[in-house]
């Protein structure tokens, strides 16, 4: 048996397990883990079944199957980065609203205290 498929299976299985463990410990929101889980499953599938990788890459016209893996990984990284950018933008907006709200509430609290005295 080839050592490479065995090694890649082990690595992807490890990645899968760490993602699951992070979710279990509440360190990773399910919402954000979905992409990672899908990616890890795809990698695991291809490391176990080399023939399906070869079949798929030839189907899209790629002669060298590992290139197909690189393309998939690259696309995945782009997608997850765009996704993170939108998440950060959303958090930025919420953070700004909260910061402004804290200042406004503090001001009305001060005014109330002055009025009470």
């Amino acid at each position: 048996m080839d050592i490479i498929p065995f090694l890649t299976s082990c690595v992807t299985a490890l990645i899968l397990m760490s993602v699951v463990e992070l979710i279990r410990r509440n360190r990773l929101k399910e919402k954000y883990s979905l992409l990672w889980l899908v990616a890890a499953f795809v990698m695991l599938f291809f490391s176990i079944s080399r023939s399906s990788l070869e079949w798929l890459s030839l189907l899209v016209g790629i002669q060298y199957p590992p290139s197909f893996i690189f393309i998939l990984a690259f696309l995945f990284l782009i997608v997850i980065n765009v996704h993170f950018s939108t998440v950060i933008s959303e958090l930025f907006e919420k953070n700004k609203d909260l910061t402004q709200e804290v200042a406004l509430l503090r001001k009305s609290l001060e005014e109330k205290r002055e009025a009470d005295n």
Binding site: K96, T99, Q100, V102, A103, L104, R106, K107
Partner: protein
């Protein structure tokens, strides 16, 4: 002047200037209320302002000029003011020019007024690279909004209640002055420019180098291009 107006002064580490600015306003525009928005300063800006018997909004951390200004607009809107005026905390703006700025708002001639250094008989002097950058921005912004805007980076502005409400929902973060002009145009508001006098920078030479001025211009142009493709809710 029977219109209830509020002057919003965003300030980040302006402890040395803010007292003078507040005195200037008290002398020349005693009818207008003032709120200082302390944008998470690390110096005593907020305390100095409070000692001048001025209301202060203290942001728990630094948001940048856009977020600070918007906090002021939210305050003005909730307090029911009819008009809000933007005024710099660094002493560049002159309180004796306020009357000219707010007149079109009070008379309903426009929804938003911008105080321009470049209109009127006494042209503003400044560093060449900076003036050149402003000139290019002015051309682009004028083209986009379909009318002449000579001073798109001016932060000396007045807004009526409608614009105030609009700004509480949409206020640009990065380069709020030129971006806001484009945004207001797209939302269907009427903007007018008013000739005003401003002070030259007090602290000797400006820290803005030619390279920085150029870089600033490019970034603002990009931000405006992005604003043009954004969906804008109508005012």
């Amino acid at each position: 002047m029977s219109v209830e107006g509020l002057i919003i002064i965003p300030a980040f580490n302006e402890a040395l200037n803010i007292g003078r600015v507040l005195n200037d306003i008290k002398t020349h525009a005693p009818d207008l209320d003032v709120i200082v928005v302390d944008d998470g300063s690390t110096d005593s800006t907020a305390d100095v302002a409070a000692q001048c018997n001025t209301d202060v909004l203290r942001l728990p951390h630094n948001l940048g000029i856009g977020g600070a200004m918007q906090a002021g607009y939210k305050y003005a809107e909730r307090k029911g003011y009819e008009m809000a005026v933007q005024f710099d905390g660094d002493g560049q703006h002159r309180a004796d020019q306020l009357e000219a700025l707010i007149t079109p708002i009070i008379h309903g001639a426009a929804d938003f007024a911008i105080g321009s250094r470049f209109l009127g008989e006494k042209a503003y002097q400044g560093q060449f690279a900076r003036l050149f950058g402003i000139k290019i921005l002015s051309r682009v912004v004028s083209l986009l909004v379909g009318r002449r805007i000579t001073d798109p980076t001016s932060g000396f502005r007045a807004a009526n209640r409608k614009v105030m409400a609009f700004f509480t929902r949409n206020y640009p973060d990065d380069y709020p002055e030129p971006e806001a002009v484009v945004l207001l145009h797209r939302a269907g508001f009427r903007t007018i420019e008013v000739p005003v006098l401003m002070r030259e920078r007090l602290s000797g030479s400006s820290s803005i180098t030619s390279v920085k001025a150029f870089y600033y211009m490019v970034k603002v142009l990009l931000a405006i291009m992005i604003d043009m493709v954004k969906r804008v809710p109508m005012g």
